[in-house]
Structure formats: C-alpha cells, structure tokens
C-alpha cells in the first residue's frame, strides 16, 4: 500500500510523483506506455501572451508569468484560471523541475525565449534544455551559421537560415546568417537512419571529435553561433556544451517535432529522477473493476490517494468513440465549458485548422485543489487528483502552455495527494477502492 499512486508517467505524472515524494509520501507510478511528453520538443512552454497577435514575436517573448495570468483572465476554464489563486507558485514548480533534472535544465529567466524550429519558424518557450537555449533569437550572437549535417535531409539548413533571418528582422535584429553543410554522416545508410540513431551515433567514442573536425572545416571564420539539427546526443545531455567548447563557438540544436530526440531525452531524464527519488515505477496497465477497484497485474492496487495524469488523446486518458470518455474512472468530460455528453464533433471543430478547436480542450474538470469535479463543482471520487493534459480547458497547440501546465498541475497535485494521504484514515478508503 503506497500513500500515492500516480497513473501516467509523462511530465504531469512524473512531477506529481516527485512532488509527493518531496512531501514525504511513499509513491508508486504506473504507466502503460510513453506519451506526449516523449514526443514533445523537450522544451517546457509555460504561457505566451494571449494578446500578442500572430506574427508579433516580441509580444510572444514576454514575461511568461504575466502571460499565464492573462490566460487565466481570458480563458476561465484553463487550469491557470482554475488555479489562479496559486499561480504565484508557478516559479516554484519550474524550479522544482529544474532541480530534478539538472543535467538538462538551468534555472530559467522571467521571459520566454524565442527558439528556432526545423520549419524555420520561431516559437516562445519558458524553459528549454541547455542544448537548445542558446538558440534564443533575442540573445544569440552573430555571425550565425545553420549547419546541415550531411546526407540526412530532414533538416533543411537553408529554410532555417531564411526563417531566422526573417524572424530576426521581425524583432528588429540584424544578424548575419548563413547555411553551411558539414558531413559527419556520409554513408549511404545515414540518409535512411532515424534521428535517434544519428543522435546515438554522436554519443559513441570518437564521433564527437569527428563532428568537431567536420564543422571546424565548414564554419566560416568569425562564426559566433552554430545552429544544428536536434540530434546532439541521445544520452549525453552535455554534448552540445562539449561541442561548443571544442569549437570555441556556441553550438545549439533547434527544437524538434516528432520523432524528437530532445523529447525522449526529457522523458528518460524524468524516469531517472523518479528512480533516484525511489518512486516505484511500474510499466503496466492499470485497470478498474466494475465496483471501482483499481487493479494492477491481477491484484488490487492499494493506495491512499491517486493522481490521474493519463494524458489526452495521445496518452489515452480521454477517448471519443460515440461520446467523450475519461478512460479510467469514467469521469465526466467537459468541453466548451459544458459536459461533453454526445456533443457532435462538428460543433467542436472549426473549419480552419488555425482556428481554435474546442475538441482539443476537452478534459476532466478540477477544483482549486486539483480534485476532479462534476458540473456542480463537487469532487466526484474521494482522494482522487488530476493533472496534465487530461484536464479541461487547455490546448498546448493554441495556448502554447503545454508542458508548463503539466509541470505546474503535476507539482500541485502531488503535494495535494501527499497531504491527503498523510491525513487519510487508513487503507481501503478513497480513490483506489
């Protein structure tokens, strides 16, 4: 019997587990598979100003706490709004995350950084991995080189360079930017390898040195910053730093879409932190019997409190076949402020892909204590808490609040669950039964 059982092992679940451990609870984390965190860019979005119109990069680069508060004002169902009384603890949650993953992160500033993507666009993010952070459009020093690394064409240095030039101009910076090619990957096979393989290749002995040599030849003299494909090491988080030192030029990787090496790095770092904190990590499926008993590998999964961090559609926490369902407890799912019921999908999807899509804000409603509630606002199951993208009201794609909400709600939910476990009467009561 553990104090806290966390269901789901992405950012939200992992932070809930770590936060509960910090509060002294015994924690088990059960996870069926990987989810959106492992597919993410590996950088943590907290919030970008909802008032900054499209194209206003400078506006998107502002203070992310202010942006979170602004979102809480304009989106009443967003977790930041529900938790607005605790928004002041956002920095604490981020600091907690940074402290748990020191190999990946340094403490962030107050403003969003503007980081480059492989599409040659720029996006605001609050907390990026060390290997990504120097690519901040506001601070990076020119002359900048965008380097293509040989036969793998999925990274188009020319497009990134052009995008960087346009974006720099948009925020009033004149930067000298060039695209070059270095060829550490030059075998026939390399064109067909997955990004994970290429990143892993750079971890191997001698490969970093080969990359240093290749880049050394390719970089024009005077280069100050090099932007590279998101492949800088599968399991060597400090590879970018070592590369920078060796070349005496600041080297960074751009962000990544799926398949994402930095995303997997983030997930693996979270897993390592869980292990270090003595969270029991179980890789299996949790099920629930008709009478509500949670079962793990055929036996009841006993815990005093439970944190639901099962994700949205990717994670499998929310599904929609004939109707929206929360898949573990059957909690009511809310969308557009109402119980989803059998709301027709057509009503929940705008015609234009760039418009807000209500369906992707569907989720479980919580109160200010992170307990799932019904339409009347009352908690539905004792000692149950929820965090992450299973929650109603936020959409990482339109709000740019993705992993930040997961981290924040996970952090708070773990604390709340540990506290409830500390004051709960004993086994047998609550969410696991």
């Amino acid at each position: 019997m553990s104090d806290v059982l966390v269901v789901g092992g992405g950012m939200a679940g992992a932070l809930a587990a770590l936060s509960a451990r910090r509060a002294g609870a015994s924690v088990r984390l059960v996870r069926r598979a990987l989810g959106a965190t492992a597919m993410s860019s590996g950088a943590v979005d907290v919030a970008a100003s909802p008032f900054a119109p499209g194209g206003d990069l400078a506006g998107q680069a502002g203070d992310y706490l202010e942006a979170a508060a602004a979102i809480a004002r304009v989106r009443p169902r967003h977790p930041y709004a529900v938790l607005k009384g605790q928004l002041s603890r956002l920095p604490e949650a981020l600091a907690f995350l940074v402290a748990a993953l020191p190999e990946l992160f340094d403490p962030p500033g107050r403003n969003n950084t503007l980081l480059l993507t492989p599409l040659g666009t720029v996006k605001p993010t609050a907390l990026a991995q060390r290997s990504q952070l120097g690519g901040d459009l506001s601070t990076l020093e020119g002359p900048v080189v965008v380097a293509h690394l040989g036969v793998n064409p999925r990274f188009d240095a020319t497009l990134v360079a052009r995008g960087l030039t346009a974006a720099a101009k948009a925020i009033g910076r004149e930067l000298e930017i060039r695209a070059v090619e270095a060829r550490p990957f030059r075998r026939v096979e390399d064109a067909l390898r997955t990004p994970y393989e290429l990143a892993q290749d750079l971890d191997a002995p001698g490969r970093l040195e080969a990359l240093v040599e290749e880049l050394g030849h390719a970089l024009p003299p005077g280069t100050r910053t090099v932007l590279l494909p998101p492949l800088l090491g599968r399991s060597t988080p400090r590879l970018a730093e070592r590369l920078s030192q060796a070349l005496n030029v600041r080297c960074f990787e751009v962000l990544s879409a799926s398949p994402s090496v930095p995303g997997v790095r983030l997930q693996e770092a979270l897993d390592a932190a869980l292990k270090a904190a003595q969270v029991e990590l179980l890789e299996m499926e949790l099920t629930r019997t008709e009478d509500g008993t949670l079962m793990l590998a055929g036996a009841p999964a006993q815990a005093k409190t439970v944190v639901l961090a099962t994700g949205k559609f990717i994670g499998g926490g929310i599904r929609r076949e004939a109707r929206f369902e929360e898949t573990l407890f059957g909690l009511p799912v809310f969308v557009s402020g109402r119980d989803a019921g059998d709301a027709a999908l057509g009503e929940l999807l705008s015609e234009r892909i760039t418009d807000d899509q209500a369906a992707f804000r569907a989720g479980v409603r919580i109160d200010a204590s992170l307990r799932p509630v019904g339409a009347d606002g009352r908690p539905l199951i004792p000692n149950l808490f929820a965090a992450g993208s299973v929650l109603e009201g936020y959409d990482p794609a339109s709000d740019k609040t993705g992993l930040g909400v997961a981290a924040f709600t996970g952090f708070l939910a773990g604390e709340a669950a540990a506290e409830a476990a500390g004051s709960s009467a004993g086994p047998g009561g609550g969410a696991s039964r």
Binding site: R32, A33, L34, G35, A36, A38, M39, V188, E189, L192, R193, T194, Y196, E197, S258, P259, V264, E283, G311, I314, G315, G316
Partner: protein, 155 residues
C-alpha cells in the same frame, strides 16, 4: 439510339436467352471440378489477393491505432541487426508493411531477419498499443500464404 421500348426489349431478350439457354448450357459443359472458392483463389491468389481472416483483422485493427509518432523506432533493437537500406524501423510495420497484402511480398527479406524479441521494448513504449510483435507474426503468416499462390510467370 433509342432508350425506347424496342431497344430495351432487345436487351432483356438477350439476358433471357442467357438465363434460359446459354448460361445453363455453359454450366452443363463446364469441366472444371474445382469449387467456387478454389476458382476464386486461383484467379486472384497469384496477385497477392488473399482473404483477410478475423484473426488478421484483429491484428490490423491494432496496427490502425498507430499515429506515427516514431517512439517505437527509438527503442527498436532490430535496427542494430537490419541495415537501414533494407528496413527503416518498427514504425514501418504499422504505417507501411501491413497496409496492403499484395505488397507484403516486398518484406520477405526483412521478415526473414526480424525477430519478435527485438520489438518487446518498442511495443511497450507505444502510446496507442500497436501490437508490433503480432504484426510480425501476421506478416510472416501472409508471406507463407502468398508463397502458396506464387505469381504467374509474366511475359
């Protein structure tokens, strides 16, 4: 031209002739002793057009859950055994190899070297529970079936 009565009558008379005389006569003279199913499979099997069983469909429904996130490729141990010029990774099992039976013959070399044990971790990390190992079993099963219906010697 006419969609007129006479025109239509001619058409129906032809069919009537077929129904009453020509078709029964053809069936009477038919020396092919094979069952309908045998004829059908002889017609279409050599082109890889084989039936999809209920068991097949269960595996394929699992494959259909793939959202092409690529996480399985990050943990696919077969990548160290098979060169990339032959096999691109576990994700291909769901998004490519198992989509159309006639193309399965192109995976013969890959399937000869893939082992389910290489896919255990890849399958465990899949967010939508694509049954990668069962897909390998399915593909092998189909390859065997396809071998029983070899393609014709095309001119």
């Amino acid at each position: 031209m006419s969609s007129g009565f006479l025109h239509k009558l001619k058409g129906d008379l032809f069919l009537g002739y077929r129904a009453v005389i020509a078709h029964p006569w053809r069936k009477l003279r038919d020396e092919d002793l094979r069952t309908g199913e045998e004829r059908f499979l002889a017609n279409y099997g050599p082109e890889g057009l084989l039936p999809t069983t209920a068991a097949d469909r269960e595996v394929l429904n699992g494959a259909s859950r793939c959202i092409h996130c690529g996480l399985c490729d990050a943990y696919d141990r077969s990548l160290s055994v098979l060169p990339r010029t032959v096999h691109l990774g576990a994700s291909q099992l769901a998004v490519s190899y198992s989509r159309a039976a006639p193309d399965i013959r192109y995976t013969a070399e890959i399937l000869a070297r893939l082992e389910e044990s290489q896919l255990v971790r890849a399958e465990a990390v899949c967010p939508t529970r694509v049954p990668l190992r069962q897909l390998v079993v399915y593909l092998r099963r189909k390859l065997v079936e396809l071998q029983a219906h070899p393609p014709p010697k095309t001119p």
